[in-house]
């Protein structure tokens, strides 16, 4: 029945439904409403899948990539705008976007190059600690974000040698060890505030103080609006970068390395170079997101960047579907917002969360929005 509607219109409709759903969902407080909305979303998603909405949207993205991205951007901004005055929803939104950015960085590492990274939270933390140290010592905030990325990449270089040499589970242990080491190091080392952590000053971008509430059209918006917009920009940049990368010959080379190292080497792809590139680029993205996260939280402490936090990032990548940038955003939203919405069941929510993740992995092993097979000829038949 969707045949008569143009793919682009389907995409617009889907975005509209998504935005409205997101706005209404964020508003809900009671358990019944939250659970029934989740159930409704699951049914709707299943139904949409049945009538071929995802294929249509994907097709629209092939025909008119700029248009679909624009719809998504407008949708994202609409959600932010709807909550311009509310602190808490904006904080959540900004968190979702930063987590999605981290997932995009990890996605380059293991979605494309096949490098497992269980130290996502550690690199995220390096970014956050960088801004904590820099903003405090008078370095302009404009610089603290890229420097966060730079430091994450530099410290990541310590791991490059073992990471590139090892594979699969062996590589996992390198990053797991780093993750544990990082948190313990921060706790015992007093120059970084020790276990208490460090306060982070508010960001100031060319005289635009992020700690102040901006006034737009006569309405005093929440100061978190600044961070939400900044997070949106960072996410948009990372997203564009990842999409470009995927479509470039570099992305193709990374895919080849992941799927068959020996084969890729036979075709003259520098395996080490490709892996190092992916590892460093991923860490830069994660570090930048971390730097902004640090400013937004106003406080960094070692317990925010533990191995379990790294697992949350890995969970986002796998739930979203490895290699699928859209999936990262969806999964980040679920992973951040759902446990928060489940505060009402307090001590039981981790149990429930872990069960939900297991169920998704069992029933949708390739993630919520699996990555599509590369298609080089968008006009190709159905």
């Amino acid at each position: 029945m969707l045949d008569r509607i143009s793919p682009f219109a389907v995409a617009v409709l889907a975005a509209l439904v998504g935005v409205v759903f997101a706005i209404v969902f964020m508003e809900q407080e009671s358990d019944v409403a939250v659970i029934s909305m989740v159930a409704a979303a699951a049914v709707a998603a299943w139904f949409a899948g049945r009538i071929g909405v995802p294929e249509r949207v994907a097709r629209a993205a092939e025909i008119n990539p700029g248009g679909v991205s624009a719809i998504a951007a407008i949708g994202g901004l609409a959600i932010i705008a709807a909550y311009a005055e509310d602190h808490f929803p904006l904080l959540m939104l900004a968190t979702v976007m930063l987590y999605a950015t981290v997932a995009l960085g990890l996605n380059i590492q293991f979605g494309y190059a096949g490098l497992v990274n269980f130290a996502g939270a550690a690199f995220f933390g390096i970014g956050a600690y960088t801004s904590a140290k820099l903003v405090g010592s008078g370095v302009p905030a404009v610089l603290s974000l890229p420097l966060g990325g730079l430091f994450a990449a530099l410290i990541g270089l310590l791991l490059v040698f073992p990471v590139v040499r090892t594979r699969g589970h062996y590589a996992a242990v390198v990053t797991i060890a780093f993750s544990v080491l990082f948190k313990t190091f921060l706790e015992v080392n007093d120059t970084f505030g020790g276990p208490q952590g460090l306060p982070v000053g508010a960001m100031n971008l060319f005289g635009w103080d992020f700690g102040e509430s901006p006034t737009l059209f006569g309405i005093e918006a929440s100061f978190y609006l600044n961070y939400a917009l900044a997070a949106f920009v960072i996410l948009a940049l990372a997203f564009t970068l990842v999409r470009r990368l995927e479509r470039s010959w570099l992305g193709l080379a990374l895919d080849a390395v992941r799927l068959d190292e020996t084969g890729a080497a036979c075709y003259g792809i520098g395996i080490r170079r490709a892996k190092i590139f992916a590892f460093v680029l991923g860490n830069v993205i994660i570090g930048v997101a971390g730097a902004l996260y640090g400013c937004m939280q106003g406080y960094v402490a070692p317990t925010s960047f533990t191995f379990s936090d790294s697992l949350i990032f890995v969970a986002i990548v796998l739930l979203g579907g490895m290699g699928s940038p859209w999936g990262m955003i969806l999964a980040a939203a679920i992973v951040v917002v759902l446990p928060e919405k489940l505060q009402a069941i307090q001590e039981y929510r981790f149990l429930l969360f872990s069960i939900v993740v297991i169920a998704i992995l069992l029933f949708r092993p390739s993630g919520l929005l699996p990555r599509r097979v590369r298609r080089y000829f968008p006009e190709g038949g159905r």
Binding site: I71, H87, A301
Partner: protein
Amino acid sequence: MKSILRFSVGAMLAAALAAAPLSGASAKDTVKIAFIGPLSGGTASIGVGGRNSAELAVRIRNADPKSKYHYELFAQDDECKPNVGVQVATKAAADRKVIGGVTHYCSAVAMSTVDVYHKFNLPVIVWGAVLPDITYGNDYKEVHRVNGTMVNQNEVAADFMTKHGYKTWVILHDTTDYGKGHNTYFSKYVTEKGGKVLATFGVTSDQQDFTAELTKAKELKPDVIYFGGLTPLGIRIRQQMDKLGIDAQFEGVSGIVSDAFIEGLDPKLAEGVLAFREGAPVEKLPGGQYFLGEYDKAKFDQGPDAYGAFAFAAATMMMDAIEKVGPDRKKVTAYLADIKDRDSIVGPITFDDHGQNTVAMITKYVIQDGKWVLWEDSEYAAGKRKLVAPK
């Protein structure tokens, strides 16, 4: 395209807003009080005990026909993690119905959230975190604390121990802010009073095996093994001291004053363990007995644990303030600033200019026959039993 989006967004918002105020139909206005503490993870038992106690305070107040408002406890889990703490603190502070907060057991979380409370003018009373900087590290009028800091606690502890003839210590502390803080202050006071710290070991809070550290400690033959940290580690260390045949007095901090510490140990090993805690002995005060009795009656699925009484006192004080000046954050903050010699179940409370309770009494405890007993009441003080003698 955009206009359609905007329109539907607006429509949904309007519908949501219209639905919101329908709930408050009862005769009294509903006022929310936030409770924030660790409800999951390793320190959950203290957090849940605190929440239950705050909940109890709210129930008792709501049952009182004279109260002007209907109270609701808005309980949030900070997971003992600063980033989650900022999140839930923002959630509570941004909710206009929330007038005050009873917040935090974990010091790192409290440190990270005080800025949020200040920014949103939300008055809070800390119910368990002991790091001095929470109240003294800033000038925020909004932040108060009913329990004492670890400074008072360790000063009393050092004084007590040196007076009993102990001269040498080996310190084990966990590497959280809590353990590290205790190490700093205890070392300082005990050295001032002529004691000697032979060695200090930092251990992570999930460590199981301490035999390496303790073997080293054994070699140094200290009079006392001081442990700065929480119950689970305290149990393991006391247990493993025995395994290695270390003959030294075991001295703990407020973090091990919990029933779980005794239950987790062989009664023989728990016997004679010393610890110090801020606040007057709950069991001794008339209000405290009332609290414990009511808590029993409420049939929660676990006990109030070590800091339940503080959470109860904090919640009660917050509701008193709201009764007096009405549900207005700034007025409540102003009211709390003038609290002097206020009676509570943890003893009289006076807030200084940083919102810190200055009448922080320190209670000395010793375990006797499987119970935490006040030192003054124990057979140890009476001389009938003996602690491990100094060498």
